[in-house]
Amino acid sequence: MTTVIRTSDLVKRYGRTRALDGLDLEVDAGQVHGFLGPNGAGKSTTIRILLGLARASSGVASVFDAHPWRDAVALHRRIAYVPGDVSVWPNLSGGEAVDFLARLRGAAHRDPGYRAEKARLVEAFQFDPRKKGRAYSKGNRQKVALIAAFAVPAELYILDEPTSGLDPLMELVFRREVARVRASGATVLLSSHILSEVEQLCDRVSIIRAGRVVESGTLAELRHLTRTEVSFDAGNAADAADGTDASGAADASADTAFAGLPDIHDAAVADGRARFTVDSDRVAGILPALASRNVRGLRIEPPSLEELFLRHYGDEIGDGAASAVEASAGSSHTAREGARR
């Protein structure tokens, strides 16, 4: 498989702040690659370097094995780009702005193929192309860039938080378009902080924090690194073990509910449910023990992308819930980070 985007040890300094701090990213051909991180993590800076709008302070970046700064014009013939905060020209209509951007990318003035594609997208995105740029809302400005990007075929789509401001219906249209270009063999770099979007669309995910990639892999791989949560009705477990009286129920059930379960962590009983976590590759090992107890209301939940994400960012939120997640996951994270260095 060929690599379309490759950066290694990419650094970008703005004055004394390091927007990128040794970023390593690889995107293979034909992939939809999720680029996850909150605002300010360095997603847009990376994209600006990949587009040759900014130069790296040090490190290497290549797109289609070419230099994004030196070979910008040649590369841009193969790339479609949607920024996260689209600006349009106030006195150009939306239709004019779409046509202009598409023509810069090579669409011919009277090309019927382009016109049909544009008409289809205008319809699908329910876009009114006759309004002047200054009259468009955030979502409609976003549609200008999306229509221009998808109306002309490209080999690489660089999408920087493309759905901000779109309503859920339009987001669905967007996902359909991404699926379409992927089916035609294009590569997509999708920067986002909408986890459900990434979960649905992406083959691989890179999580970026403070200018470096802290986690990269398929969703299945990433899930392997985390623990699965298991919970069941606590009352049932306690009854099954023995007939302890109600006054000591909490303590007794906490001890008894988890007896005999191997390799479990964070065991606790709360709100009538017993919960614990287990390494995702050891879930099978606990099933016999659970089966023999005849537990009721059993729920086994693989980690969501939210949890993956919070493992790297939970400490920034600072409230109780987030730090609990961090506490359960932080130690393994630090260990891995250390090993990488």
Binding site: A54, R55, R77, P83, D85, S87, S93, R103, G106, P129
Partner: protein, 539 residues
Amino acid sequence: MSALGALLGQRLRRDRWQLVLWVGGTALLALAAVGGVQQSYGTEADRQEVLAAVAANPVIMLFRGLPSGAELDAFTLFLILPFLAMMAAFMSSFLAVRHSRMDEELGRAELVAATPAGRTAPLVATVLHGIGANLALAALVAACFAGAGYAPLGSIVSGIAAAAVGLVFLGVGLVAAQLMRTSRGANSLGVWVLLGSFLVCGLGNALGTPSSDLQRIESSWLTWLSPFGWAENARPFADDAWWPLALCAAVAVALTALAFALQRLRDLDGSFIAERAGRLEAPASLGSPLGLVWRLARGSVVGWTVGGLLTGVLATSLGAVIDEIGTKIPAVEELFAALSKGGSLEQGMVVIFFTIVGVLAACAAVQTVTRARQEETHGTAEQVLAAPVGRVRWLWAFLLVGLGAAVAVCAAAVLGAWLGVQAKGADASLAWDALVAGAGQLAAAAVFLVLTALVFVLAPRLTIALGWVLVLVALLLGMFGPLFGLPDWVTNLSPVAVTPVATTDGVDAKGLWWLLGVVAAGGVLALGLMRRRELAAGD
């Protein structure tokens, strides 16, 4: 009431520097007029000559006020009152739109209207704010005239006359803001009404009836259709008539009431004149960076070009008039001799007016290049440069359109000069002089073009400020350097002052080669450095 107070306070705070500049600028204009009259037309005989010349060439009244006698104070107001009123009118019209339609357009009005302030209190606050600004303007202008030793009553009438026109245009701005969907549309409607009524007033005066001694002119009925005409017919210092100003007040009240009535009829964000729908598809020309820059700049380029045409017409057609005045008033003659450097007086006029053409062309060029910076900060440049468009080609498009704009302004001025010669039946060689001066000023304008581009490449944040300051400094040095008796080398720092001129014996190339050298070197440097420049992050 507390909501009204808060709204008023917020308006004052937002406008504090802007209003200081408008009101202060108007006062400075009044002071400059007082000084200018005392210097150039010091004796009553001088002033009588000028007024007689005006009566003989009424077209001058398009750019001046209404003659009301040759006394020092009344004569000063003849020269300056229309412009004091114009300042007040621009200030008020923009103020009205800024605090009504623009707030609505940007969504701020919605936030305010959702509070107990409601929809009406903001409009009341805007009216009070505008009245306050005009009162301040009236007081300061009156103080300037009174401080110069003019009669107190006439000084007060002068200030109030300017402010009264301001109040009328406060009303015009408020009504325009109700009618139009965008602040841009409302502002242009205001400006068109303003320029139209200014012109109507001047035409009415030009068609007026001079008194037998040619010192005073009675306006024709046309003037009475314009607020500027009412202010001028107050004739400060000569008549000190209040009743024409009452007309201003009545119309201001009526327009303001109309604005309140219209606002009651419409939804927030609604308008009575819908914005025209845009094109469904881009025209064939809009397919390259060059096409985009032309599309963005064409409106203002047309404006500057019309300015060039009018200046060109004046350059040759006013020459004869000035000749007439100049031979009778030694101070004026000296002034033109200093500026024309040895040519005839009419040639001097061409040089002076084409210096203005050079500044107009430079403005057109600089404005086009500063659009590159606006595109960059606005974020639209990013999308263009993310397409297969090189940085150098992108900047080149702005330079090319900027140069084209300067060519258009200078060519229109030369054409205007030729028309002026034809109309006046003046010496045909003046058209040749104009051609030489126009071509020379084009070189000067190109210098500003490349300097602004260099600033854009090297210090993008300074582009807009520095670009315009360079033009302003060049204008001041080139136009007023000889007047203020600055040494030649200081005056010659200004590109507009070292362009070729036609003299009685041929063409003096002066600094032409220097100018062309700077243009070539600056252009190459700017484009070369652009190769290495990053796009600044939008902010």
